[in-house]
Subunit: 445 residues, 2 copies
């Protein structure tokens, strides 16, 4: 395979990414509470040679649970269960730098990387909501600037900890009575603004050196953080032009940080709604739309835009003050994309909710396998994507349909692998194993 290949991540979510997916006749409404559901999805993605699967997360129950699953199991626990039932696919989960301690989280991620033989990835989030702050003894959510400052220091500490137990530490010399080489187990003695951590970590350096570092924030601070630390970026774009602009911007930022832009993969979200014909796909989309519960969508939208649901008229466009608001504290940068979509296409709130039901701001593509493959090829070859974050509107059916109908077309066009070539997540993504900073220090000394 000499042609450049695109990468595929399967973003897993209970019965599917469409808010009404759990109500489809074939869906298991209890999918969120069934670890075996996630295991089966990962196996489907692995059989199709996807690079990875991904689980989003937050430390908060979702709403009242009346209209959609209220939660999911802790994602690193799910990843560990999946690790035992798969061989090659990468395993990415969200964890927060605001509500974890670096020693504990670095250790857990290293443990999952070892248990999976080098397949762990970490989607780094800073947890913006009031609700999470209220579950972690904080009176107020921390300011975005503070959260990102902590996240940056958290990554510095985590990398030191992963490097603290050197690859050569274990000797196992029974005869000489030397279990390990003390020179390869190093205190880190980190003293910073947010953390003081002595180290060393009490688990070996991850198989991958560090777990794959993933990021999904699209704010200015999120992009700055991604340019510095991320190796894969999940993004939401509605149009090719948006995708191209982001892609060019982030690759330039990566280069400005002195990093290789080819070592940071941009993976836009894609919600495929598939039919053998366009008409069939439209029927499927309509079926999902008809199952939506408007109260649910309105509550979600109000939370997303950080406004009062009572101020919203379903049959009018978004209020002018919402459309015109600037990015501000507590304002999810993805909300800007939603507002732009409503404004650009002059949608009523009811119509907007219909558009959001499938993808929460991600790109919903309704069509035949060829049409979806065409759009993917365009984005991939025209500088908007290194691959895609595939979000089945319904699961497993949406993922199965994609695997059975779109993946073969991508293969025919030489755009996607037929077999895994490596064994780790980094190898799937074509990314190097990071050099140990302490070994570099020794080499330079």
């Amino acid at each position: 395979m000499t042609q450049k290949q695109l990468h595929l991540n399967a973003f897993l979510m209970d019965s599917g990414h469409h808010e009404a997916s759990w109500r489809l006749p074939d869906s298991d409404p209890g999918a969120a509470l069934d670890v075996q559901h996630y295991v089966r999805l990962a196996q489907i993605a692995e059989a199709a040679k996807f690079d990875s699967i991904f689980l989003a997360d937050g430390s908060v129950a979702m709403g009242t649970g009346e209209f959609r699953a209220s939660g999911q199991f802790e994602p690193l626990t799910i990843l560990t269960a999946i690790a035992g039932a798969t061989e090659r696919i990468g395993l990415i989960a969200t964890a927060s730098t605001t509500y974890n301690e670096p020693y504990a989280l670095a250790r857990r991620l290293a443990s999952v990387d070892h248990v999976s033989k080098g397949r762990a990835g970490w989607n780094i989030v800073t947890s913006a909501t009031h609700e999470e702050a209220a579950n972690f003894s904080l009176a107020e959510r921390p300011l975005q600037a503070t959260r990102y400052e902590r996240a940056d220091e958290f990554l510095t500490v985590a990398k030191k900890l992963w490097d603290s137990w050197g690859d050569g530490h274990f000797l196992g010399d029974k005869e000489g009575g030397r279990w390990g080489d003390p020179a390869q187990l190093r205190a880190i003695d980190h003293v910073g603004t947010h953390f003081r951590v002595a180290g060393p970590l009490n688990v070996p350096r991850p198989v991958q050196g560090y777990p794959l570092l993933v990021q999904a924030g699209a704010s200015e601070q999120g992009k700055a953080f991604a340019a510095k630390h991320a190796e894969a970026i999940f993004v939401a774009h509605q149009t090719l032009e948006q995708g191209q602009a982001f892609y060019a911007d982030i690759k330039a930022r990566v280069a400005a940080e002195g990093r290789n832009p080819d070592h940071v993969l941009v993976l836009p979200g894609l919600v495929p709604i598939l039919g053998a014909t366009e008409a069939e796909a439209t029927v499927m989309a309509q079926e999902l739309d008809d199952l939506r519960i408007p109260e649910y969508g309105l509550r979600q939208l109000a939370t997303f835009l950080d406004i009062d649901a009572a101020t919203i008229d379903l049959d009018a466009p978004l209020p002018r003050e919402v459309v015109e608001q600037e990015v501000r504290e507590g304002f999810d940068s993805r909300a800007r994309l939603v507002i732009d979509l409503a404004h650009r296409e002059n949608l009523t709130v009811r119509q907007l909710l219909g558009r959001l039901g499938g993808g929460r701001g991600h790109n919903v593509v309704i069509g035949t396998p060829e049409q979806i493959a065409d759009q993917m090829e365009t984005w991939f070859t025209k500088g908007a994507a290194d691959g895609f974050n595939v979000m089945g509107a319904s699961l497993p059916s949406g993922l199965e349909a994609f695997v059975e109908t779109v993946v073969p077309i991508l293969r025919e066009r030489g755009l996607f692998r037929s077999e895994y070539s490596g064994t780790t997540l980094r190898e799937n993504y074509g990314l190097p194993r990071p050099v140990n900073q302490f070994d570099v220090e020794v080499a330079n000394a």
Copy 2:
């Protein structure tokens, strides 16, 4: 089975509980770094119908790693891996109330309980060492009183969180569009000294209601905490009389808390060193002793007694000021047992290290299968134990020998099960599923 049955927990530790076990000819010195080693040990224990396995833990690398494994993988990750490879055995791991947040840990434990279908247990520790404090941004380790106060509030919050997602929350009513019953998903709005937690938890109530709550601290504060919260207690005793005194004391404390003493199981540690004859067992013990590295033992002892290693003469008894010291801040209560052992038997430090090499203060029994079964029966029938925490001096060989030679004798005597009767850890231990506190409130309203 009408006769009262004893309970067996297998305490797993890399190559074994004896500090030199990794140097035995048959040992895998890298066992600490191999999750499959732990999986195999759990399978051996499950085949023998043990109630549970247990993993100790601390958030610190052990020493320099020169003379023994420097760490192990994060234990809830190991439990999850074991859950996928076993069916019935209970899975207990240590986690700290000082270095976790209740929302995050309650969620993880609930997740492991669900993944394992009701087999999770939590050994609650408060993390006494300087070294852990230095890995979690604290200048000083918290005082014992503060740690236990936090632990008590932590348990209160965790129980509220486990109860917050009621057993009847999930409806999955596709037709009516009702995923869940909001009345069964309750905010907890906890406001206390150490924590403010809004809730509800974002995972369902554990299969077991709460994971099995285990405790191992033998200080005054540890015993008071155990009497209030613990359902199983791991203890270290050298003599039957010590065991009986502790047993009577803790059961009385449990009753004084208004709890049923039969619902708190006392499980003393037991390090069996087995031989077909007493002479053969003694040879085995000697082989292990000969492989010890004195510098390692001395460092461990000094850390354990919280004294300076340089003050200790290997060929003299412990210094008088050590023998006579009172329990004080930072003084592990188990250290008192070690000092008493040295004093009672008039041991030099070198002799003491020999005695500790196998059990770190636990009861090492060197003998034939009958002799070990006799001692277990005595402790069980004379009011010192409800079962035992079996600590193989070498692993897997020490556990295999116990399973093959001692367990059949216990069965012949009608003291131990031949088959599992329940499916959850609580059922193995004969303990009830806790009632949901919010359901009680509703019933009383």
